[in-house]
Subunit: 325 residues, 2 copies
DNA sequence: GTGAAAGCGCTAACAA
DNA sequence: TTGTTAGCGCTTTCAC
């Protein structure tokens, strides 16, 4: 691999001049520019970003740490992030924690060690990861889920209102006994959606905690079906678990929506092709990503200043799975 | 941010000793180890990976460049890659080219500049990106799609056989006029699946090219429906396009499988929940990722040596969408 | 407008 | 076993 000195020698100039040409921030004699560019081409020179980052003490990389790469919600959000990042001159490094706090800590440590310019994170709930981020003073934006005891820029949807609306929708359709399958305790989306559900329930709440994954939703639904107090409808606090629940119901020949109503949180790409089509509380994923990225750009530009929290609205998409009559 | 010298001063040792303690490759006096670790903790020291990478002239990062983060095929494959990478001490940096050759080139350039340890790529078809990779001598493994004129380690499924089987399956079910919706010319999966289809077709092939995305599948199906020579079945060369085609058929009230049979390539997570459930040629995604990662580990260990190509079998999952009777 | 030289933070020869 | 020292490749003063 040729270095900047090889290029300098080839062009008959100093390394400083090559650097100036390549970074284009200072004016350089046109002749020299031409010679340098020719030398770059001849040698196939590629600047060493590691050296540049070290010298500049900064990088143009963002770590985007999401908790499940298999969840369409996150992949759609990432698209929004990427579009803004690219425009602002940053590259996005995607990290998949798989809802595993240990993996999440590893990725946070890597982001800090690699001196990344900023972090966007949907925390899997690791207090350690959050602590490391907050202590490091690296610019951080939390998405989807609040960072545990973290005073950072945050973009979320109105989980409580969305969950309440979903529950009221089921009750309004005529279901009597609405259960809730939510996510792990301590994950803000799980707790807030549960609260929204509970606030809309007139009677005793019926709650099962699972892990925000498809199999978890399946198992939770299974437990509800064989439990002592079988519900006639269920609000499921995320999309993958809703799919799992739906599969469980199909396998047990429980008619949806006749015998069991179902509403999920987070849309899925093919909610309308599934039968019965899935009623969901949809989130503005792409916009959420864009907003988070914009906040990060601003935070990098001005690291001090009070963090802001943006709450985006969620919207009920009524489809077949909640249509009792 | 404290440096290794701050730690050294605090612990009353040299920077070299701190480095040795932290990297644990040389034996160090236990007393010193304790002092160093204490100093590290007190100062909240975190090694600067950028400096280390520069000094060592290598990194422990892999760039995994996929062409569509919204495609479950790729996300499942990434899981397999990650598991092997982690075990081998590498971190995975995921890059989404969005089927856009320009983006792909950008990511390849970044991977090279950042001195990444290796690249796993499902090429969006950019000859330029392939050229840059091959010239650089960075370890590369191609997945899913062959790298344009690239002699590199490759993991693919048997696209031609899978497509042939899908087509024969439709013909065997009693469909007469089977069309094919495939991907962009020059992308090996698109061309090979087309070839497999054509080899199984007794009569004149009926082919539409699209872009491997859902909307493309929708539009292609639309064109087939209104074309002069309407088919009674269609083999769709990837999963997202199959979903698009299905949606198009649903919106046009074309009965599937009665009026139109459908087989897709690549499974989708909810193929069995969609109605009609989707017949697909499924690929061993997770295993594909693991295999690619293992090849990359080997290639990094021994950069010379002939590249190998691994062909994994694809498997037809017959469901409702191809059941004529 | 250009070049010489210092130094980003770390690791690895080499000496002691 | 430990410390001294050089240098990875680049950018950025500082002098000219």
């Amino acid at each position: 691999m040729p270095t900047i000195y090889d290029v300098a020698r080839q062009a008959g100039v100093s390394a400083a001049t090559v650097s100036r040409v390549l970074n284009g921030r200072q004016s350089v004699d046109p002749d020299m520019v031409a010679r340098v560019l020719a030398a770059v081409r001849e040698l196939g020179y590629r600047p060493n970003a590691v050296a540049r980052n070290l010298r500049r003490s900064r990088t143009t990389l963002w770590a985007v740490i999401i908790s499940d790469i298999g969840n369409p919600f996150f992949t759609a959000t990432v698209r929004g992030i990427e579009d803004v990042a690219q425009q602002a001159g940053y590259s996005v490094v995607l990290c998949n924690s798989d809802e595993n706090p240990a993996k999440e800590e590893t990725y946070v440590a890597a982001a800090l060690s690699e001196q990344m310019a900023g972090v966007i994170i949907a925390s899997a709930g690791s207090g350690k990861a959050a602590k490391a981020l907050l202590e490091s003073s690296i610019p951080v934006v939390a998405i989807d889920r609040k960072l545990p005891r973290g005073e950072v820029d945050t973009v979320v949807v109105d989980n409580e209102a969305g969950a309440r609306e979903a529950t009221e929708h089921l009750l309004g359709a005529g279901y009597r006994r609405v259960a809730c399958i939510t996510g792990p305790e301590g994950v803000s989306t799980a707790d807030l959606r549960l609260r929204g559900y509970a606030s809309a329930m007139p009677g005793e709440p019926l709650v099962v905690r699972a892990d925000f994954r498809e199999q978890g939703g399946y198992d939770a639904m299974s437990a509800l079906l064989s439990g002592p107090d079988r519900p006639d409808a269920v609000f499921v606090a995320n999309n993958l678990m809703a799919v799992g629940a739906l599969r469980c119901l199909a396998e047990h020949d429980v008619n949806v929506p006749g015998e069991m109503g179902l509403v999920g949180f987070d849309d899925i790409p093919w909610a309308d092709l599934v039968r019965p089509s899935l009623t969901t509380v949809a989130q503005p994923t792409y916009e959420l990503g864009r907003m988070a990225a914009r906040l990060l750009v601003d935070r990098i530009a001005s690291p001090s200043g009070k963090p802001s929290t943006v709450v985006l609205p969620a919207e009920l998409h009524a489809r077949q799975s909640s249509r009792l009559t």
